[in-house]
């Protein structure tokens, strides 16, 4: 089995349109949550979200191309461009065949579908846009990355709600580790700010009217976000041989299913996934110094996640730091795990742990070291990034710093 290096990063999110802006906001504890700007929220019970501000598709896509891509797929391509340029990958015909693309998406292009339904049901028109299907299919983010770069290797999309990107990255990691691919572009993208989608989230009564305050006693739910985040993975030896900058090692991946309730999280499922990620990476619990939590800011998640972390790490749970960067980039559903993987990798690279923003009140039921509001300079050896989805599907990634 080969070691796998993370050699390229690309992000577009509420925290800016590139990796530098993303990291600057995270290290400063600056939240991108603001009043929703992209649509009229008069008919909604909530008005805040984490949107990509000042996004102009024409700056990224020529006229015709922009029409082909739903916003969620645009974000994927933009992030992939940055990640590949960052990694300095030079494609040969052989490498194009041996490169895998594995992406996550939860709602995918449902905004395009929603627009079609407005034509049909509200305006009583007889036809919807002919590109509704190619724009809305969840795998469009993977397809457009492959077309953009002429990558002909295995490409597919994983849709496991809020765990989508972690499942995708985990799959890509195993493919590179096992020799099924020599390079992988992996992550997720999402753009859920469409009235029909927001109404469905509203009905679930998990969205905060305020902001996202993970682990804070006065937390009042999640805040939806959007964006795209991609990582370039390659075999450690190959990365060293070509003199690539290695951000971190992706070392382990664990998955599990709660087999319990369709929306209520469990403790046992996340415990099993975290243990599996550690085992898969050959990492002792004591080597983990930081966990980028799923940390949605709902009453249910933050308590069960705290319980799960305590069960896995026992006494060591009080010696590791935990934060939820969703407090800053929002909950970008199928892109969430990818945004958080990048936050985790950068934390390992810079020796700086991003905080949990918007934290105002300790909760005895979430009594971990949750890095309230300020980043902490500490070089940790290993880190986990948790994603726990509706449907009880859990995916945990384990990373190792290069310096250790």
């Amino acid at each position: 089995m080969r070691r796998v290096a993370v050699t390229g990063l690309g992000v577009i999110s509420a925290l800016g349109q590139n990796t530098n802006d993303f990291w600057s906001a995270l290290r400063a504890g600056r939240s991108g949550i603001a009043r929703i700007n992209g649509l009229d929220t008069a008919r909604l019970r909530f008005h805040n979200g984490a949107e990509v501000a000042d996004y102009d598709p024409s700056r990224h896509f020529a006229g015709e191309q922009a029409d082909l891509l739903d916003r969620f797929a645009q974000f994927a391509v933009i992030a992939a461009r940055e990640a590949l340029a960052d990694a300095g990958v030079v494609f040969t015909p052989e490498l194009r065949e041996r490169t895998a693309i594995v992406t996550g998406a939860c709602v995918g292009g449902q905004s395009s579908e929603d627009a079609g339904f407005v034509e049909l049901y509200q305006r009583n028109r007889e036809r919807v846009h002919p590109l509704t299907i190619p724009r809305s299919m969840a795998n469009a983010n993977a397809s457009h990355i492959s077309m953009e770069f002429g990558i002909t290797g295995p490409a597919y999309t994983v849709s496991t709600a809020c765990s989508s990107a972690n499942h995708a990255i985990g799959q890509a990691f195993h493919m590179v580790r096992n020799g099924q691919a020599e390079l992988a572009i992996t992550g997720g993208s999402e753009a859920p700010f469409s009235l029909g989608i927001l109404k469905a989230w509203e009905a679930l009564r998990v969205i905060s009217q305020d902001t996202c305050r993970p682990f804070s006693k006065n937390r009042s739910g999640m805040v939806l976000g959007e964006g795209g985040a991609m990582l370039v993975l390659e075999p450690w030896e190959a990365a060293q041989a070509r003199g690539a900058r290695v951000y971190a090692e992706i070392a382990g991946f664990g998955m599990s299913s709660d087999a319990g309730h369709i929306t209520k999280p469990s403790v046992a499922g996340p415990v099993q996934a975290m243990r599996q990620a550690l085992r898969d990476g050959g990492i002792a619990p004591e080597q983990i110094g930081y966990i980028n939590a799923h940390g949605t800011g709902t009453s249910a998640n933050d308590v069960t996640e705290t319980g799960a972390i305590r069960e896995v790490f026992q006494k060591h749970a009080d010696r590791l730091a935990v934060s939820s960067t969703k407090s800053m980039h929002g909950h970008a559903l199928g892109a969430a795990g990818a945004l958080e993987a990048i936050a985790t990798v950068l934390a390992l690279l810079h020796g700086l742990l991003p905080p949990t923003a918007n934290y105002t009140e300790p909760d005895p039921e979430c009594n971990l070291d949750v890095l309230p509001n300020s980043a902490r300079a500490v070089q940790v050896q290993g880190a986990l990034s948790n994603s726990f989805a509706f449907g009880g599907l859990n995916a945990v990634l384990a990373f190792r710093a290069t310096q250790t």
């Binding site: 009905a203 679930l204 009564r205 009217q209 009042s220 209520k264 249910a300």
Partner: protein, 88 residues
């Protein structure tokens, strides 16, 4: 004899949980009726439609029993000016 609002709330709960009507009373706890968070949201959704009211999330979170649910609905009905009951 329960009033009309109470009767409707009890009927909605019985329907959502597929329970015999007489097994749901004002004194039933959600736990005893097997109502979890998702059932709770389904019931609130039906009540909003039935009474044409808007139950805010914060109020919804504090409801833990049938009695609290009935009282909450009544309070909202009282504060909604001249709302017309939905057609049956």
């Amino acid at each position: 004899m329960p009033d009309q609002v109470t009767e409707k709330v009890l009927a909605v709960i019985a329907e959502i949980k597929r329970l015999p009507k007489d097994s749901v009373s004002l004194d039933s706890s959600f736990q005893a009726l097997g109502i979890d968070s998702l059932d709770g949201m389904n019931i609130l959704f039906e009540l909003e439609n039935e009474f044409d009211i808007n139950i805010p999330d914060e109020q919804a979170r504090s409801i833990q029993s049938v009695r609290e649910m009935v009282e909450g609905v009544k309070k909202l009905l009282a504060s909604t000016p001249a709302s017309t009951p939905s057609a049956e």
